[in-house]
């Protein structure tokens, strides 16, 4: 605590809209979209930082940040309310030269070189605020240091048929990356970039300035910085990660990731006491399950009152489900009220939506319905 110098600080890119989430991101940034009934998407990245012993985190905001700002506050739920460091929100701002919105992911970091320099770190960890996963960045740093890499990219093997949707890396048998292609039509490998980077700060700093001075550049990590470094004179390493990792970029993938929590053999365990996920808690009573209720394969949060039948669902706090209603394979956000004799299937129901008695609302596995008010 005495030293302002930090070995590694994290920068979380949280400015994106996530437009494929449609109504879910009309008024909040994607990292602030609710997940798992209790959390918002960014909670997982923030908790990973805390659990990995990273105590200085910048969060870069831009799109609809109010809910996100409020959610993060000074970082208390994640033990990130620290005297030196902690979590800091970094919105775009105006200077004597006028105001500039963040142009791309690399530009967002470029505009905050100042902030990073304050902590004078050896390494900078670049993260996205919109993935669901649990990962020890400390282990990744260890490999980065051992390999004396300039840049380490976390990679995950994926089914080869999906590879053309990702940034695909080719690594040699020392885990040195020798090729990188963004969404290749004919992928050379099945290692997808997870958008998690550890840079030597001195190297990244120079790269950011060069990139900013290049008028041709999109100022983006995936499109500009990474390819340039992979094909240039730098040591770029792959860090292989085998755990659960999900980019919840579409309504269906968000729904699937929620459903993943419900399986008996869930691939993503939110009950692991050695790797907790933190989030600000709401003030609500214990959940009430009525005498005729049936609740199976479901996550339920504080303040819920369930009198109907619920199967394969994720219920956020203060959800009410009336008698004789049957709710299946759905995600219900905070304050949703379902009347009596309602049938609801394959849906994501947004905050405070009231569904009147007798209604039948069904999405399909192929197209999950988003129910707005």
């Amino acid at each position: 605590m005495s030293q302002f110098k930090k070995e590694m600080i994290a920068m979380i890119l949280a400015g994106g809209q996530g437009s494929r989430l449609k109504a879910l991101t009309q008024h909040v940034a994607k990292p602030a979209v609710p997940f798992g009934g209790k959390y918002r998407i960014i909670d997982f990245t923030l908790s990973n930082c805390t659990n990995s012993g990273i105590d200085t985190v910048g969060v870069l905001t831009q799109y609809q940040p109010y809910v996100l700002n409020n959610h993060i506050g000074i970082g208390s739920p994640w033990d990130l309310d620290r005297q030196h460091g902690g979590v800091k929100i970094l919105p775009p701002y105006m200077t004597v030269n006028g105001g500039r919105w963040y142009k791309g992911t690399a530009n967002a970091i470029y505009e905050n070189i100042h902030f990073i320099d304050m902590y004078n770190p050896e390494y900078v960890l670049i993260l996205s605020g919109d993935h669901i996963y649990g990962m020890d960045y400390g282990k990744m740093l260890k490999q980065h240091v051992n390999m004396a890499a300039d840049l380490t990219i976390a990679v995950k093997p994926i089914p080869i048929e999906e590879a053309s949707r990702f940034g695909i890396l080719t690594a040699d048998d020392t885990d040195t990356i020798i090729d990188f292609e963004e969404k290749p039509p004919v992928p050379k490998s099945n290692l997808a970039s997870m958008g998690i980077y550890i840079f030597k700060w001195s190297v990244l700093r120079t790269q950011l300035i060069q990139d900013e001075n290049n008028p041709e550049s999109d100022n983006d990590f995936g499109k500009n910085i990474i390819p340039k470094m992979v094909h240039g004179n730098f040591t770029v390493a792959a860090y292989r990660f085998d755990g659960y990792w999900k980019d919840v970029g579409t309504v269906n993938s968000l729904w699937e990731a929620n459903m993943d929590l419900l399986r008996e053999d869930t691939p993503f365990d939110i009950y692991d006491k050695k790797w907790r996920y933190y989030s600000p808690s709401t003030i609500s009573p214990a959940q009430y399950i009525g005498p005729h209720a049936i609740v199976h394969d479901t996550l339920v949060n504080d303040g819920c009152m369930i009198e109907g039948s619920v199967n394969n669902c994720v219920l956020s706090p203060k959800v009410k489900i009336g008698r004789d209603s049957v709710v299946q394979s759905s995600v219900l956000m905070e304050g949703v009220e379902i009347g009596e004799k309602v049938t609801l299937e394959n849906a994501i129901v947004m905050e405070n939506v009231v569904i009147k008695s007798g209604k039948v609302i069904k999405g399909t596995r192929e197209e999950i319905l988003v129910v707005e008010s």
Partner: protein
């Protein structure tokens, strides 16, 4: 701006509930799967916009202090006013227990003196009820009362043994205060919530110290019944008094009634409590849960009927819990069977155990036990 301050007085008799108060005060008793009893008294105050609250403790305070912290959950973490906790001077602990709460108030008269609010709302920790002191203040001023006492006309006097009773006339004036020793049916029970001008309270305490004729504040007020205008403010909602094990059990079971649950917890007036980071409760495919309160972080694979389960409890497959109260982090193993039980914190019930209490004398399993 704020007109009222609050005092919550925790000096209390615990002999009828001692199975649960070995390591805690009644105020820090877990309740309704999420709360501690004192949350009700505190929330009533902050919901009435009182932001200067003193808690006067007696006895074991560790779990209480841990629960209260800096007062943040009740918005009482403040530079100005906020939450104050007054402990009896350790060296005079025996004196206090003999002498009563007047002695404690005496030690903290300076706090009462420097507070700037005109009125003091006073409460105990063992009453579960949602009371609006702002309404009470309006009533108090309308009546031109010196003291106003909240009371409730209860049908089930047997649930309020050892509580104070009040004799209220048609004009709502209180003419005497008694004790509910017998099992009567309908009776006017005092909720032991008082509203009084701060300066009058100081005067009463100073008088009591000088004359030495009363050790308890309640007594002082009783002694003055003739000379002061004491009014009753009738509470129409739910009320329980958790002063015995039976009452604790009964009140807990009351929380399973949707109308009481909604009155206390789902209205505009929230009950605030210390926040714990817990994942959602998970109901497995084999879960059977009916008429139950379940806390967050529970993993339910067995059967839970007519029961209150606090946070972080695991109910394994085949376990059957009925008519019971399970406090936090208990582990109820496979095919065990519980009925009319109160299981304290961190208890492990092994597989195939069958434990059966009685509705009037629930069987209490102590904290940290492994059965």
């Amino acid at each position: 701006m704020k007109r009222m301050m609050g005092i919550i007085n925790l000096s209390e008799r615990t002999e009828y509930i001692k199975e649960l108060t070995l390591n805690r005060s009644i105020g820090s008793l877990p309740f309704a799967g999420r709360y501690r009893l004192i949350d009700f008294a505190l929330s009533n105050m902050v919901n009435s916009r009182i932001d200067n609250v003193a808690i006067v403790t007696q006895g074991k305070t560790r779990s209480l202090m841990d629960h209260l912290g800096s007062g943040k959950p009740w918005d009482l973490n403040r530079n100005k006013d906020g939450l104050f906790v007054f402990h009896p001077d350790v060296s005079s602990q025996d004196i206090v227990q003999r002498k009563g709460d007047i002695e404690i108030f005496k030690d903290h008269l300076d706090y009462l003196n420097i507070s700037t609010q005109e009125y003091v709302a006073m409460s105990r920790s063992y009453m579960v009820a949602s009371v609006d002191y702002e309404n009470m203040l309006r009533y108090h001023e309308e009546k031109g009362a010196d003291i106003t006492i909240v009371y409730s006309k209860v049908m089930n006097g047997s649930n309020f043994i050892h509580c104070d009773t009040v004799l209220v006339d048609n004009n709502h004036e209180i003419h005497s205060i008694g004790k509910n020793m017998n099992n009567t049916n309908e009776v006017d029970i005092s909720l032991e919530m008082y509203l009084i001008k701060r300066e009058l309270l100081i005067e009463i305490i100073e008088d009591a110290i000088q004359s030495g004729d009363a050790d308890h504040l309640k007594q002082c007020i009783f002694n003055r019944l003739g000379n002061m205008k004491v009014y009753g403010y009738r509470h129409y909602g739910y009320v329980a008094c958790v002063n015995s094990l039976t009452n604790y059990y009964r009140a807990s079971m009351d929380m399973l009634q949707p109308d009481i649950y909604s009155e206390l917890f789902r209205g505009e007036r929230r009950v605030y409590t210390k926040v714990k980071n817990e994942p959602p409760a998970k109901y497995a495919n084999t879960a059977v849960v009916q008429n139950a309160l379940i806390g967050s972080g529970c993993i339910i694979k067995g059967t839970v009927i007519n029961s209150v389960i606090a946070r972080g409890v695991t109910v394994e497959e085949g376990a059957v819990i009925k008519n019971s109260i399970i406090l936090q982090n208990a582990n109820i193993s496979k095919t065990s069977n519980l009925n009319y039980m109160i299981i304290d914190k961190n208890v492990t019930v092994s597989a195939e155990k069958h434990l059966n209490g009685d509705i009037n004398h629930p069987y209490v399993v102590k904290k940290n036990a492994v059965l």
